[in-house]
């Protein structure tokens, strides 16, 4: 058993030498679009993304991406209810958690500057919250979504790269919950960790 573990560990380590697995942590700024913008107009400055990419064949890589994007806006307006109206300060929040399987194509994979283009698809857990006065209602839904992305990696030494990308997130309608879309501007570091 111990022998098998050693072999697996060794093969993982050697694989990383040739395959350049990338572990990437980045800060995300989110620009709301479409229906998302109807609910919250302000840019979301709170976001984080975590991605693991594994080279599968030459310039092609496959990966997993986990993200958390927060939108928040305080508005004062009158809302219509059944046979009446409610006014008060509204605190609107969206928490979006995209969980994606990704595929990327890297141009000039051997140079320091490596542009890439790719696509993610998977689950978007989206929680919408509306606070008005002392009351609060929230609604969480799982959406299926797509996320085309372009960006680049730039080697800065120590097996570490600057990571910059633009990703368009589109979460389709889910039951009664409408679609969501936003553009994510991502900047961070990608490391060939193991």
């Amino acid at each position: 058993m111990k022998h098998i573990q050693t072999v697996i560990l060794f093969s993982m380590l050697t694989a990383s030498v040739f395959a350049q697995d990338l572990f990437n942590l980045h800060y995300q700024i989110s620009l709301p679009m479409g229906d998302t913008k109807e609910y919250i107009e302000e840019t979301g400055f709170r976001g984080v993304g975590l991605e693991w990419r594994k080279q599968v064949d030459g310039p092609f890589s496959a990966g997993l991406s986990f993200n958390w994007n927060v939108f928040n806006e305080v508005r004062t307006e009158v809302a219509e209810i059944d046979r009446g109206h409610v006014s008060g300060t509204q605190n609107r929040t969206i928490n979006a958690f995209p969980m994606l399987v990704t595929g990327h194509y890297t141009f000039s994979p051997k140079s320091d500057f490596r542009p890439f283009a790719g696509m993610g698809m998977g689950a978007y857990l989206i929680e919408e919250k509306l606070g008005i006065g002392i009351y609060s209602i929230s609604d969480s839904n799982w959406h299926f979504g797509l996320a085309p992305e372009i960006g680049f990696l730039y080697s800065i030494g120590f097996n570490t790269n600057l990571f910059v990308s633009v990703r368009y997130n589109y979460a389709l309608e889910a039951g009664d919950a409408g679609s969501h879309s936003y553009i994510g501007l991502n900047i961070g570091f990608a490391s060939e960790l193991f």
């Binding site: 942590l25 709170r46 976001g47 927060v70 209810i81 006014s87 606070g131 006065g133 120590f158």
Partner: protein, 221 residues
């Protein structure tokens, strides 16, 4: 694993929770005024253009959960409240009947102003206050045992101590079958009188104005 790799892992491991904590929204409401909420409901079938005169008792009723409960609400702002309601009604073209004379025609509408002196949870509107007004001469012939008929569907709701209510009832339009006096318009301001912070006067007047302003159908004279 090399030292360099361990170091990198530690740095990444430390960065991630910091970024996650940074994401957590802390809410955007900062002052007590931000929590004020003004709810208005009305009967869409009622012709507000067809009524002109109204009467209003010269008091803000404090409603308690029962007669033995303590009334902790101040009366400091009663006059401000009543004056502001009257000013809005005048602006909309309604005419107040100040002195109730049984010989005169009854007013088209009666406005009732009351405040909760206790907390209510899970009520669509306000329970148990109707009996407080039973003695008031503006009712004309009494309707013993009649309760208010509210517009709108039942929704779960709650009111904090200090919530202010304004109700417009049509005493000439009593439903004898249902034994109810219809409430044609109602405004509720949540938690307004719960504190004694500075600027209370302007808060009260602006929230009462808001209740009328968000109800443009009242002014169709």
């Amino acid at each position: 694993m090399h030292h360099q790799q361990i170091l990198k892992l530690l740095i990444w491991g430390a960065l991630l929770p910091l970024m996650l904590i940074g994401c957590y929204p802390d809410g955007g409401l900062e002052s007590i005024e931000d929590y004020d909420i003004v709810v208005t409901r009305y009967n869409p079938a009622y012709n507000f253009g067809g009524v002109k005169t109204y009467a209003m008792p010269d008091t803000v009723m404090h409603v308690l959960i029962d007669s033995t409960a303590d009334d902790l609400l101040t009366r400091e702002y009663d006059q401000v409240i009543l004056d502001q309601v009257a000013a809005n009604m005048q602006r909309l073209g309604y005419q107040r009947i100040e002195v109730i004379d049984p010989a005169d025609p009854e007013p088209d509408l009666v406005l009732l102003v009351f405040a909760s002196a206790t907390k209510w949870q899970g009520y669509t509107w306000y329970p148990g206050w109707w009996g407080y007004w039973g003695y008031w001469p503006g009712w004309g012939p009494g309707y013993p045992g009649y309760g208010p008929g509210y517009p709108g569907a039942v929704v779960p709701y709650s009111y904090t101590t200090g919530s202010l209510f304004i109700e417009m009832v049509d005493a000439n339009n009593v439903d004898d079958d249902l034994k109810s006096i219809p409430v044609e318009w109602a405004g509720g301001i949540n938690g307004l009188m719960g504190s004694t912070s500075a600027g209370m006067r302007s808060r009260i007047t602006s929230r009462i104005d808001q209740a009328f302003n968000q109800s443009p159908y009242l002014g169709s004279k």
